[in-house]
Amino acid sequence: MYRYDEFDAAFVWARVDQFREQVGRRLAGELTEDQFRPHRLMNGLYLQLHAYMLRIAVPYGTLNSRQLRKLAEIARKYDRGYGHFTTRQNLQFNWPALKDTPDILAELASVEMHAIQTSGNCIRNVTADHFAGVAADELADPRPYAEILRQWSSLHPEFSFLPRKFKIAVNGAPKDRAVIQAHDIGLQIVRNEAGEIGFTVYVGGGLGRTPLIGHKVREFLPVHDLLAYCEAILRVYNLEGRRDNKFKARVKILLHERGTPAVRELIEAEFAARGDAGLGLPPAEVARIQAYFAPPKLTSRPAVSDRLERRRGKDEKFSRFLESNVVAHKVPGYAIVTISLKPIGGVPGDASADQMDAVADLAEDYSQDELRVSHEQNLILPYVALDELSAVYDRLASVGLATPNAGLISDIIACPGLDYCALATARSIPIAQRLSERFGDGARARAIGPLKIKISGCINACGHHHVGHIGILGLERNGEETYQITLGGSGDETASIGGIIGPGFSTETVVEAVETVVATYMARRDRPDETFLDVYRRLGPAPFKEALYERNKGADI
């Protein structure tokens, strides 16, 4: 994985010193909150309901053991013994003290981490497929390009005060695991007829108040033009974006209001006008960055592990874990393991310091010292030998991390919601917990099959509810929490925004409503492997609407 060079290290340490000075001035009363807020936000520090919250960048979701151990250490020393992995592949601490944050940032810098650009109206931490570099279906590893974008966008003077925040995601396989079409720029790695690698470029996707799917502005962008083209997009956005209205300031609104052809024309004109003014990517530089992500030399192993197959045959729990949490690796004899941070009834994305240490040990012992954070709030061990899956499973089980539900109905994304967040209008975690308890990780969840429930506690949609197969949005109405259900959303390569199915549900009734939706799906599917999304797309909302609202009309509920 990428290692800081001298420039990176000096730059991150300089930021620590700078923030230490800013915090000192704030505590001494030399800066007002209004003056200080932009500085703390540029370093990922928010003030939430109960305390400050520090959001730490995990660039494209890649971590090593040393870094995860450091996060565990910070959780113990400065926080409350746990952290929360987010839908942007980051980690949040919910209880840091302002006076401690310079020390926390120094601890992070000691392991090549930071919280820069995890907030504010700048280019945020670049995200990528969490199976990057190891997925069997991958064309090319998206992380070198994400790293190039990170370097280019870090403290970019022209793009540090954009109309609003700006999110870029890169995906390297035909299967979109990075939700690229819900990002301001989505980059899909493709191969052209000449066999060259390049990008299909989407612009103007986003969730939040106005959910929109990204528009394709370029079918094939050569690697050489990656930065120049992204810069053209950012320049057009920076000039033309709506600074007059915060709620209309994202680039998606620009495309929505002006139309894709008009904005594409502006981007192409800007791109052409700049020519090759220093931003063309030299192949040698791309190769230099790619070298950091070169696959480790893995011991050659048979494609089938007898040891694994013997246990699979006699241990049902293990077999279930393999079925849901283990996927094919590009190297025969190896597998990718998803560590679900969705224990039944637990808080989605939370991990205790002890669990972080345990996962760091596992990554060190069994996964080439590397792990990933997924936008689905899980952790990934990317290089596990099939022969060693059994040992990995046992160790995960010993720390409560072997929940066999990755991709199933209880693998729920949920934002922190009103339990922590100052912006939230309703709680999301308790709904996730109750749904998880209702559907579990056993035979029933497996019979339902792949089904993504995503829950947000306000319209800002950090829980990605618009792209949930079943999305739940928590709102406040007359002092009560109420939950709006959307159906048919998807965050993959067939991206779609879910449609609101009807009036919202109370805290008491929302779980039963999801139960009704699931039962309707089960009753209407043509065959066991017809997924929820397939059925919804085949039948539309009518049967679900009918089941949710018509049948109960007049009933005493």
Binding site: R26, L27, A28, G29, E33, L47, Q48, L49, H50, A51, Y52, R80, W95, P96, A97, L98, K99, G345, V347, L418, D419, Y420, A424, R427, I429, P430, Q433, R434, E437, R438, E476, G479, E481, T507, E508, T509, V511, E512, A513, T516, N552, I557
Partner: protein
């Protein structure tokens, strides 16, 4: 109308409440209850002084109401803020005996009735 004044402590973000003496307490039970607009305005003016002295961030008034003989914040947001996360009863004021009474209940699957 019954209101209290709350803010976050600058240095660590901890939620504070203005007490009868015009000082600031971590304990919700110590919060002074104001029942008219001039009293709230005066309390907020003291809050502004504490902001100017770099002790606090963002003081504001919240509605409270009597429930079972105890004052508690009216809005769920403020009740959670005064107590701690409903999903982690071991954290926040509720874990330190500083939360409003009665304590907020986290909804559980078992506690809900079906349609």
């Amino acid at each position: 109308m019954s209101q209290i004044v709350t803010a976050n402590r600058l240095a660590d973000g901890v939620v504070l409440f203005m007490d009868e003496a015009g000082g600031w307490s971590e304990d919700f039970a110590k919060a002074a209850i104001y029942s008219d607009a001039p009293a709230i305005a005066a309390a907020l003016a003291r809050g502004a002084e504490a902001v100017a002295a770099s002790l606090l961030v963002d003081p504001y008034g919240i509605e409270v109401e009597l429930r079972n003989g105890h004052y508690t914040p009216k809005a769920l947001r403020e009740a959670i803020r005064a107590s701690g996360p409903t999903v982690r009863r071991d954290l926040g004021k509720q874990a330190e005996g500083l939360a409003p009474i009665p304590a907020l209940q986290a909804p559980t699957e078992a506690s809900h009735v079906s349609l």
